[in-house]
């Protein structure tokens, strides 16, 4: 999938909120791309926009090329065929993303039968296999239970089973572990990556937790204020970041080897409002490198092949 110049704007009473401002993104077959950013950086909106799941008032422009077709110009009918079949999504809150009045199995059967001419018995059999695949014990009994009989982690596993039911080519996971206990998070991530490998789909992992993408993503794209700020291989971002915002994020991760009683680093200030028309670099007010040059938004420039950063002071930051 290739996203080019994606822009999303929401008209509000206070003016146009520009949630996403010209995002480019590409994800290859089988690749794991992590999108990292603070709340309001536009990462979820980007994902929803690619699936055309935003409310009608959202004004979306740009291109979302998927296997040569621009998803943004597809008919509604064709788009429904893509959703759940070619591209599937795992949601943030498994407590509300499952329908409370149907059994977990019924919901997965429904997902399968919506996109493939499969009879109920076969779909049911496949459902049980899928639940087994995501590590739910006694899958045939569990499939007959309702979501409220599942724990949070189990529900998220069921959501994963549902998402991969039709072997999608792209799996979008929007903060898949945010609503879960820390102890469950690692397990669920493991399930996601295992299943993703088993099915052979690409994975777009959206999170605010850099630690989560570290061991999993091939590439990481850091977003801030609706723009991509840094983009590169995971190791490049973690060890050779040249962007002050990414560096700030990395410094904000709690470390076990930190000296006792040191305060956790936080990036000062708040992200700018989506209403902002300011021509300056959106990170300028929070940046230690800021100076007069930062009065314009920097371009995303290549630092080393495959590693781009959006900053006027790339040279100084990397030192």
């Amino acid at each position: 999938m290739e996203v080019q110049g994606l822009t999303v704007e929401f008209p509000t009473e206070d003016g146009l909120v520009r949630a996403v401002r010209g995002v480019d993104m590409h994800i290859a077959e089988g690749e794991v791309l992590g999108i990292v950013g603070e709340s309001g950086s536009g990462k979820s909106v980007t994902a929803l926009a690619t699936m055309r799941l935003l409310p009608k008032r959202a004004q979306v422009s740009g291109q979302v090329l998927f296997e040569g077709r621009d998803l943004l110009t597809l008919s509604d009918r064709a788009m429904r065929g893509v959703r759940g079949s070619d591209i599937a999504m795992i949601f943030q809150d498994p407590m509300t993303a499952l329908n409370p009045v149907f059994t977990v199995g019924e919901q997965i059967v429904e997902m399968i039968r919506a996109h493939a001419p499969v009879g109920k018995p076969l779909a049911w059999k496949r459902t049980v296999e899928l639940l087994d695949l995501v590590g739910i014990s006694e899958p045939s009994r569990r499939a007959r239970q309702y979501p409220h009989e599942f724990s949070g982690g189990m529900r998220q596993r069921a959501m994963i089973a549902m998402a991969v039911a039709n072997r999608p080519k792209l799996l979008i996971a929007d903060e898949p572990t945010t609503a879960l206990d820390v102890t469950i998070q690692a397990q669920v991530m493991e399930v996601i990556t295992e299943v993703q490998k088993a099915v052979g789909s690409a994975l777009l992992l959206i999170t605010h937790d850099l630690g989560l993408v570290a061991g999993i993503a091939h590439r990481v794209q850091v977003m801030y204020a609706g723009r991509v700020f840094e983009n590169g291989a995971t190791d490049e971002i973690f060890y050779r970041s040249v962007n002050p915002y990414t560096k700030g994020l990395l410094r904000s991760i709690p470390r076990l080897d930190a000296k006792e009683k040191t305060r956790l680093y936080t990036i000062p200030g708040l992200p700018p409002s989506g209403l902002s028309r300011n021509e300056a670099c959106p990170f300028r007010p929070r940046c230690e490198f800021a100076d007069a040059v930062c009065g314009t938004v920097p371009e995303l420039v290549e630092v080393v092949p495959g590693h781009q950063s959006r900053c006027h002071h790339t040279q100084e930051v990397s030192m």
Partner: protein, 299 residues
């Protein structure tokens, strides 16, 4: 329900699954003693409304020489001013009242749910339109409309039902609209959309089952309301006309005899009360039984 003898092994597991939901609903319903009692009462009443008049030696509009009688052995419910047997008239009245009430409740539920669902789900101008229609219906002086319609088309049980339904659907539409407004923001709706479901499917397959509980309660309340409204209309002379009895117009007819023969008011009146109460209890039980998360049913 269907023949399950020839299904394959896998089919069988599906059958078990389908049964187990019905089974759960039944188990939960059964624990609601009052609702079970109410259901039994309703079944007994309904059957007797259809069977009893056939067993009676009198026709419901047959005029006997014994007029204005209190309850006697020959006429256990007494007779009215012109000597018609009130036992057979009360049971016939029950038949018409139930028929009207069910017709009103079902058509109202259908119209109200449909319009409420569409308004709540799509919002925008559709919602504005439906809401305005609801407000108009609520503002219209119901009795004046009923009077006009009764004069134009007469007062058969059918026309009364249609008129009542046209006035009562707004309540259920508002409830359903509100619930849809709430449920369409739930993440499972977004999940269904991300799975490629279209609007109609999301509305009726994903959201509607979630609002069935409140809808069932509203429907049962409507049965009660319809019976009482029909009685009110009959009392005002706008309901179903003689000689067709309904529980409502029996009470209305008896209003002059309340001192001399209070049973004439009390007997049909207590049938109205019994039906309305039973239906409300039944609705309560159904609501709990249909909600999968209302605890257990499973051991």
């Amino acid at each position: 329900m269907t023949d399950t003898r020839h299904v394959s092994a896998i089919d069988d597991s599906i059958e078990t699954e389908a049964r187990s939901f019905g089974r759960q609903v039944w188990d939960r319903f059964r624990r609601h003693k009052l609702a079970v009692l109410a259901a039994v009462v309703l079944v007994v009443l309904t059957v007797s409304f259809w069977v009893a008049p056939a067993l009676s030696p009198y026709e419901f509009d047959e005029i006997t020489p014994d007029f204005r009688q209190p309850p006697t052995a020959a006429h256990p419910f007494g007779t009215d001013d012109i000597g018609r047997d009130l036992l057979v008239r009360t049971f016939m009245g029950g038949r018409f009242s139930i028929r009207i009430a069910l017709l009103v409740a079902l058509s109202t539920t259908l119209i109200g749910t449909l319009l409420g669902a569409v308004a709540g789900y799509f919002g925008g101008w559709i919602d504005a339109l439906v809401s305005q229609i609801i407000n108009m219906v609520l503002l219209v002086p119901a009795l004046a409309i009923l009077l006009v319609l009764a004069l134009k088309w007469g007062s058969s049980p059918w026309s009364i039902s249609i008129v009542l339904a046209a006035l009562l659907w707004t309540r259920i539409a508002r409830v359903v609209r509100g619930l849809f407004l709430q449920y369409k923001e739930q993440e499972f709706v977004m999940a269904a959309r991300s799975a490629g479901a279209r609007s109609g499917r999301i509305m009726f397959r994903h959201i509607l089952p979630n609002v069935m509980g409140p809808v069932v309660v509203e429907t049962t309340l409507l049965v009660g309301t319809a019976i009482i409204l029909e009685s009110t209309l009959s009392f005002l002379g706008l309901g179903v006309q003689f000689p067709t009895p309904t529980l409502g117009n029996l009470v209305a007819e008896a209003k002059g005899a309340i001192d001399s023969n209070p049973y004439r008011v009390l007997l049909p009146g207590s049938f109205v009360m019994l039906i309305t109460l039973s239906i409300n209890f039944l609705g309560d039980g159904l609501r709990d039984a249909l909600d999968p998360s209302s605890g257990g049913g499973r051991t």
